[in-house]
């Protein structure tokens, strides 16, 4: 069959996921390549719907040619990827973009199977297929918890990993780099909604896990007091439109065997305390808020159990967000020098995403109406340390 227009043909894994969908939308609108997307039990119509939505939200038209360039195929078992031989040959696939991954921190078997073993199998087939480049979507946190700057190179074993997820992504990076296939490794940080209108089609994860947790646990009844783990540590949130622009620039311009820490500019980033503050003032409005820098400072056995549950459910992500991450950004700076412009992540841009989340929530709307009389006009913010001393009272 070959590529009808003679352009490159790309095998895109994870195309039905959040980042994979964004990548598909980006490639369809900016490149001429055919996209061969292995999926399991998904119709073309179902696949296209979110991709089309992303394209149309950007004010573009979903062209008929986009659909013609999309080729969904059944993803075989990971140990039988050679079943793709014919498809690869038919479409002239010469690149792989591997964005499939398991992000379920606690499912060790699936993390190992998808992030490590699937990647290993795909690389082995890629070698056999004569792939000219393998692009791997990793994570900014694949270094694990290390002191100092996270370099744009492969990581050694850290003293501690946030989760088994980061460990498996680091292992996969090593596999990619050691495969002999020219590679590009992209390491996005926490991807959130669009910077302009806040739309977000990903799962409730990262910041959205915290928001969804607050919606679900704290918007059932009004809380007079609130205890929050809120260190003044900037959180590396990356808008999805920034991810798309940076992906495209890196895909087009970075030389083979590059690693890109795909993170936002640090200067403007809101810290975790600001994120809590935004939600508290917009939605919950308790009378008094206690801020803590460390989980161990919070008297968890003495606080409201719904708040305790939220802190527990979000504890892993709050720990990751509270770590003082610093990233090398040489490659991003180089891309900027080539003309790449990225929307910044600021408190204002995150508040657009937050507002959208709140507006789309029936639970929150109901909470606000039913608790209109309780929600405090003035909120007292109190910083607490391990000795349970009020260090400062910050009246709003």
């Amino acid at each position: 069959m070959g590529s009808p227009n003679g352009s490159r043909s790309i095998l895109l894994t994870g195309g039905t996921g959040y980042l994979g969908g964004l990548i598909a939308a980006t490639l369809l609108t900016n490149e001429e390549a055919e996209l061969v997307v292995p999926v399991r039990g998904k119709s073309l119509e179902d696949f296209i719907r979110p991709v089309r939505a992303e394209i149309e939200i950007e004010g573009l038209c979903f062209q008929p040619s986009y659909e013609q360039r999309l080729h969904l195929i059944e993803l075989p078992p990971f140990q039988s990827l050679s079943k793709l031989d014919q498809v690869v040959q038919d479409f002239g696939v010469d690149e792989i973009i591997h964005s499939a991954g398991c992000l379920d921190y606690f499912d060790s078997q699936t993390l190992e199977a998808v992030n490590v073993n699937f990647t290993r199998s795909l690389l082995a087939e890629g070698q056999r297929w004569g792939i000219r480049r393998f692009t791997y979507i990793s994570t900014a946190f694949s270094s694990g918890y290390i002191n100092g700057v996270v370099p744009e190179r492969l990581h050694a074993e850290p003293p501690k990993d946030p989760t088994y997820y980061t460990q498996t992504k680091r292992e996969a990076e090593w596999l990619v780099a050691g495969s002999g296939i020219p590679f590009l490794i992209l390491r996005p940080s926490i991807v959130i909604g669009n910077s302009r209108d806040g739309h977000y089609s990903g799962k409730q994860y990262g910041l959205y896990q915290l928001w969804a947790g607050m919606e679900r646990l704290l918007c059932r009844t009004w809380h007079r007091e609130l205890h929050a783990l809120a260190p003044t540590q900037p959180v590396s949130l990356l808008h999805q439109d920034a991810f798309q622009s940076a992906f495209l620039a890196a895909y087009r311009m970075l030389p083979d065997n590059s690693i890109l820490n795909l993170v936002p500019q640090e200067g403007s980033l809101p810290d975790l305390r600001t994120l809590w503050h935004m939600w508290i003032t917009e939605c919950l409005r308790p009378e008094i808020v206690y801020y803590y820098d460390r989980m161990s400072d919070i008297p968890v056995r003495d606080i409201n159990t719904l708040q305790r549950a939220l802190l527990g459910l979000a504890s892993v992500n709050l720990e990751i967000a509270g770590h003082p991450w610093q990233f090398e950004t040489k490659n991003l700076a180089w891309l900027h020098a080539q003309g790449l412009e990225l929307p910044e992540t600021t408190a204002a841009s995150v508040s657009i995403c937050q507002r959208r989340f709140i507006e789309e929530s029936e639970t929150i709307r109901k909470f606000m109406i039913e608790n209109a009389a309780c929600r405090a006009k003035q909120i007292e913010f109190v910083e607490r340390d391990a000795n349970d001393e009020a260090l400062a009272a910050l009246a709003e």
Partner: protein, 297 residues
């Protein structure tokens, strides 16, 4: 069940006073009784499992007094089965007096594994903390007369008292063990959590594997609104109760927080298998998936 049932009948406490008004007096519709049939049958399965668990762990108990106490706990679970069965008879809904849903057998299997390696903390955590916490949630829900009916509320209230006692016994036993060897008890908690909690939370549902077939019920017709609650409320209450229980024992939040965090995935909240699964949400870590060292991660 013939002979064993007859033997168990002798355990029924005469002092429990339950209003017997029959179905008509409740003024509830068929859907309500179908839901009770489903819930009570699952509760009986939990009680059957509890009898087996308590019986199996007797020999691990360190003193004669605690052996007797454990046997007494098993006996009380027998009583609960009889009370629940009589409730079904009185209100004319069917009950299955056996374990039907596979989750109970899975929990039994893990409990037996703990018994076989003489891991008393794990046994206490599985039966007295985890299972009893869920039982307390169940019977608390059923004991609200305004949401159920007088007879069901009374039966549930009576059983609830026993289950609260069992929880208290377990908490006190584990406090003692925690003081003796915190690392061992913490390891047991991690091991048990990743195996048992997904199973227990998986049963907070109105869908099933086989139970509705067993009871000749339309699985899709069961509505928790019949008892003025919903799945989300029950799950949150279950989460709260479990956390309260862990805190009551005195477990270090540094140990329990990651376990609680793992529960966000039980219901697909953070299902993140990008592009490789359907949208139904896979459980975080099935008991089968947990590794031998007791950790999912």
């Amino acid at each position: 069940m013939g002979q064993s049932t007859a033997a168990a009948e002798t355990l029924a406490p005469p002092e429990v006073s339950i209003p017997v008004e029959g179905r008509a007096a409740t003024q509830r519709d068929e859907g309500y009784f179908n839901l009770l049939s489903y819930i009570v049958s699952n509760a009986i399965a939990g009680e059957v499992m509890a009898i087996e668990n308590y019986s199996e762990m007797v020999h691990l108990m360190p003193t004669v007094e605690t052996k007797i106490e454990t046997v007494h706990q098993a006996k009380e679970e027998c009583k609960h089965i009889l009370l629940l069965s009589k409730l079904g008879t009185s209100l004319e809904f069917g009950v299955a007096r056996k374990i039907v849903e596979p989750q109970w057998n899975n929990i039994r299997k893990h409990f037996s594994a703990a018994v076989n390696r003489k891991d008393l903390p794990a046994c206490l955590i599985i039966q007295d903390l985890m299972t009893e916490s869920m039982a307390i949630l169940l019977y608390t829900t059923l004991s609200k007369e305004s949401d159920t009916d007088a007879q069901t509320a009374t039966v549930a209230g009576n059983i609830l008292k026993d289950e609260l006692d069992h929880l208290e016994i377990g908490i006190n036993r584990l406090k003692g063990l925690l003081a003796e060897d915190a690392d061992k008890v913490n390891d047991a908690l991690v091991w048990a959590h990743h195996r048992v909690m997904p199973e227990l939370f998986g049963m907070i549902s109105t869908s099933c594997f086989f139970l509705c077939d067993e009871l000749s019920l339309d699985c899709g017709s069961l509505r928790l609104a019949s008892i003025k609650t919903d799945i989300d409320t029950l799950k949150i209450e279950a989460l709260q109760r479990y956390i309260q229980t862990l805190d009551s024992v005195g477990f270090d939040p540094a140990v329990t927080n990651p376990l609680i965090a793992s529960m966000s995935a039980y219901e697909g909240m953070s299902r993140m298998v990008l592009g490789l699964t359907d949208s139904s949400g896979a459980p975080c870590c099935s008991p089968q998936a947990a590794t031998d060292n007791g950790k999912c991660c």
